[in-house]
Symmetry: C2
């Protein structure tokens, strides 16, 4: 079993952000797995999505249940094989898992208050610039691959465009070239639930000793619905009532209540909401959903994605899932088409998995097979 | 222009509910349009969905902007032609538009408090029984048709099953034989937003002089997303930024804010949420979404919809909309198939309208044409 060790590096030079603001100094939390070869050709950067972190793979010493969020994908003998590749997971700025974020002290605050709502808006591109600085410190010039799912896939795209000479391969899973109006709408409802929770206190809830848990629960419940497919929800929960002891042969009756849990799906969503509200930071939720909203590389090219992607030099692998209605296959196909328009080298797999957007985190043999063979060909290229 | 006049009837006999509870006495608000013929063969009942009322058609005297919610469908010369049919709209029990509901005095309260959260859970079948009692009072034995969209369509189905001898035709638009897990999930998130709003006070907010507007706003925003198709949202809003004055040729820049409105879709949803929170009752929202959750005529038949629908004797018209992902065409087809299994007379139209679930309220010539010809053939049958 891979044992993971969280690390951190401090950065003293200010990071200029896309918004025009800057972060004066910051820490980046990260983990590495495997060994960097002497030619430094085997580094793979894994970018995380909304509620994940730098803890991509392995477990922490003495904590058997602390698997990384992509442990089925990254590790010894796994599709991204840490016996061959040196894999880096990094926590993004504004997150709540170790890198500098809203719950850390604001160096510009005279009385040492935390950033709270004053943490500057960060974008996918800002994250990528910070990741590049981390790689500089680790002595890595070129990535064999940058890889991510969902929002992580957007970072992989941004890498290919901002640092075309530093990336050999970009692996973009269950992602999109930008959010649709509906995607933004779901994010906005989640943000409104958080911001209008009286315990949010304009984002400065820390000093009030409270957490806007009501809003966080609602935000997570909404998110969770969009991560699952209708099919898998019906297969897993359907219209099942909350389990109670029912006599053999007897049909369980409704309770007829508007507020009690009646259906299993309600119980599941409430549980997910409660769990999330216990560990996730409300300001981080706002920041990360906004980074999703803002990502739109075609914007600077009048909406022309082909022109935007023309800067990329790497090979691409795109993967989408048929039942993903958050980032539907059509969105991945837009990227594939734009890359082909510019004669870029792109492979694309559309996986008929039933799990919706969540499929990118799950263990599907066809999906993992595609990634595995992509990294095998990459190994043949860089491990000489 | 049709001028509508709201009416109300008081019912003294208790109404036994599906839950085992009862409503001791109650009022039903309703409107009628057109004239009941002497043979009493031309009555059409229109059932309303989540946030509508008995005000189906026409305007109130002196209020030009008070069109009924289905005014494009019902009126003189409209598809449901009030020059030929006597059309009845009725507000359902538990609603907040005139019929007895949570904001009315609870006759069992010693100090005359309103029902609030104590209003009993009402089901689609309970509404239909109350509607039947209203028809008795109006001297109408048989309906030429019962018609509704969405939740209103469920009432039309329930009419066909509970009073098969009193219905000639059932017109079921954009409906479903029950809710999926995902449908229930969206309802549950909306309910949690309302119930966890500190201003909800366990449903007894009236006596505190407040309204759980935060929760109502979130509930409405979620609902609204599910009423629209992804396509129409992209066509109408896309990724447009909130309109500001932009110099010719200049590209409008992001504001980089997590809490301000940045995209048009956000502005639209906030507006819809605000408007709804100003007029809709929170307890009514809980009751009506629960009525949706509970509706499942196949449940008493071990999940066999064909067996459940075997009781129906009327002719059916079903209409669905290709882009409706709340109650997708597949759900209407389940009903059609179940009716055909039992050799019932059923017509079905699947309309390729872009507007999603909302299409049932909009003026589409193909959709209205189908309904018009159905009512013309009905007129030929009943107006002799």
């Amino acid at each position: 079993m891979l044992v993971a060790t969280p690390q951190s590096l401090h950065f003293d030079a200010p990071l200029a952000l896309q918004s025009g603001a800057s972060i004066r100094q910051y820490d980046l939390a990260f983990e590495t797995y495997g060994t960097l070869n002497s030619a430094k050709t085997n580094a793979v950067l894994i970018c995380h999505a909304l509620n994940a972190s730098h803890h991509v793979a392995g477990v922490y010493a003495g904590q058997a249940k602390s698997e990384g969020w992509w442990d089925n994908m990254v590790g010894p003998g796994k599709p991204v094989d840490t016996d061959r590749f040196f894999v880096i997971g990094v926590n993004n700025l504004g997150s709540c898992f170790g890198s500098t974020g809203p719950m850390h002290a604001n160096p510009d605050s005279p009385d040492g208050q935390v950033y709270g709502a004053d943490f500057p808006v960060v974008t996918v591109e800002d994250w990528v610039h910070a990741q590049a600085l981390l790689l500089d410190r680790l002595g890595i010039r070129t990535l064999a691959a940058v890889m991510g799912g969902s929002l992580g896939g957007m970072q992989a795209i941004a890498w290919a465009l901002l640092y075309p000479e530093r990336v050999r391969r970009a692996v973009v899973v269950a992602s999109a070239p930008n959010l649709t109006a509906e995607n933004i709408a779901f994010n906005e409802v989640a943000r409104r639930a958080i911001v209008t929770d009286p315990d949010f206190h304009g984002g400065n809830f820390y000093r009030h000793g409270v957490v806007p848990k009501r809003g966080l629960r609602i935000a997570r419940m909404i998110g969770h619905i969009t991560y699952l497919s209708d099919d898998v929800m019906n297969a897993k929960f359907g219209r099942q009532l909350r389990s109670t002891v029912v006599q053999a042969g007897a049909s369980q009756d409704y309770r007829y209540s508007t507020q009690d849990v009646e259906f299993q799906i309600e119980s599941y969503l409430r549980y997910q909401g409660d769990k999330f509200a216990d560990y996730f930071d409300a300001n981080t939720y706002l920041l990360i959903t906004r980074a999703l909203d803002y990502f739109d590389p075609a914007r600077a090219f009048g909406g022309n994605l082909s022109h935007a992607l023309a800067r990329a030099r790497c090979k691409f692998l795109l993967v989408s899932f048929v039942t993903d209605w958050r980032f539907a296959p059509a969105r991945s196909r837009e990227i594939v088409k734009a890359l082909l328009d510019k004669q870029r080298d792109v492979s694309y797999a559309e996986i008929d998995a039933p799990h919706g957007h969540d499929a990118f985190l799950l263990d599907d043999p066809r999906y993992h097979g595609v990634v595995r063979s992509h990294f095998e060909s990459l190994a043949a290229e860089v491990l000489v």
